[in-house]
Symmetry: C2
Subunit: 232 residues, 2 copies
């Protein structure tokens, strides 16, 4: 239980999977399961067991040979590694369709990311209430970020306004941005951006669909190229 680890750098690919493991481990824990092997976890996550072991080995040696992993302890360790041992306030920029949905959604608070504020540049949106939070003017962003020690910002503006939103977030002191706009944000080195773009996801899917159609329509020439799904 000592907070004395923080070892080697964890590979990006592993960091992206830890939340998935955490999710499913928590779910099994709540169902009363106390121990799981890497095989078990692998089956639940639809990945290879060796990958699970490698991933977990990056955060420490928390398994028991011949037995498996203690679910509760593993949940604790992964949580700590992901920085979930305390809350991270977030600010949302953009109170349109998406901003409202995100604010009203409740998923932020549930997961330990309280919404410190929702901001918009449009005065007609200011002072409306979204998800129990009052929309503030974008000019108030720096104050709130500083006062509430916010380090994560969510960009939920139209594409055209996203770069400005990001610039303001960075200037205010935010160092991680979750971007929902269809734009490649340019930010200084040291700021982390993750973009979630509905259009990109759909286009990746339609690429696969189109291949299936092409294959079915009779593009003989390639032997075994059935588009593999990412889950089994």
């Amino acid at each position: 239980m000592s907070p004395q680890h923080r070892r080697r750098r964890i590979p990006d690919a592993t960091v992206a999977r830890l939340p998935v493991y955490l999710q499913l481990l928590t779910e099994r824990m709540d169902a009363g399961v106390t121990n799981l092997s890497s095989e078990d976890i692998a089956a639940l996550a639809a990945v290879n067991a060796a990958k699970v072991r490698k991933d977990l080995s990056y955060i420490g040696t928390y398994g028991t040979r011949g037995v498996g992993y203690d679910v509760e302890y593993l949940v604790y360790q992964i949580s700590r590694e992901l920085g979930l041992d305390h809350e991270w306030s977030v600010v949302i920029v953009g109170a349109g369709n998406l901003g409202q949905a995100l604010g009203g959604y409740g998923g932020f608070n549930e997961r330990g990311y309280p919404v410190a504020g929702i901001f918009d540049i449009d005065d007609s949106k200011v002072d409306t209430v979204v998800g129990g939070v009052c929309v503030q003017h974008l000019d108030d962003l720096p104050r709130v970020v500083a006062q509430r020690q916010v380090s994560i910002g969510v960009v939920a503006t139209p594409a055209a306004a996203a770069q400005d939103a990001a610039d303001r977030l960075v200037r205010a002191g935010v160092t991680s941005i979750l971007n929902f706009a269809s734009v490649v944000l340019s930010v200084p080195h040291g700021v982390t951006v993750r973009t979630v773009d509905l259009g990109v996801e759909l286009q990746i899917l339609s690429y696969h669909e189109q291949r299936r159609v092409a294959a079915a329509t009779g593009f003989r020439s390639m032997s075994e190229d059935a588009p593999r799904g990412r889950s089994a």
Copy 2:
């Protein structure tokens, strides 16, 4: 302009970037730009120029040495490769918070993915109107999928209902699923799933934040491990 290509398998990593290139090329095209070099594209996409060239080389040799790429032609070729030369109807399962936001959002139609139907298992939601589309009962899913030739389904249900939603989609004939629930969906081989999970994204960001804090609080021992953002 001949539809006679469909060559070698394109790497997943490249497929994931093509939509980003397409987006920014379209944007420049609309701004009147007719030609761009791989350097230019790389700068706009915040990636390496060699990567842009490699990526584009997978879909064909559409550049001109000493000059660059004709933006309009490239837009056309990428679109074709992604299967955007025709529309792909989608169905949305789940008419709750998220389903409503997605349905009302308009992004689907705009991008060539018309919403063929929104479905929910809850009778109280059936017949309400979301984004101009009337919510139907989940039992009507197979009929609509068949009639409208839907191959892409969106899962916008609570986590607990997501696997059932996916099963129904697959049974109805859908072969690509965009999953917004925090669950690893299990689907048959041949079905593509992409999961977009707010919680996962936030946790990846807080991992990076937590490292920054750890570094600042004085975890000397590692030399150069400033968390690199994904954009410049």
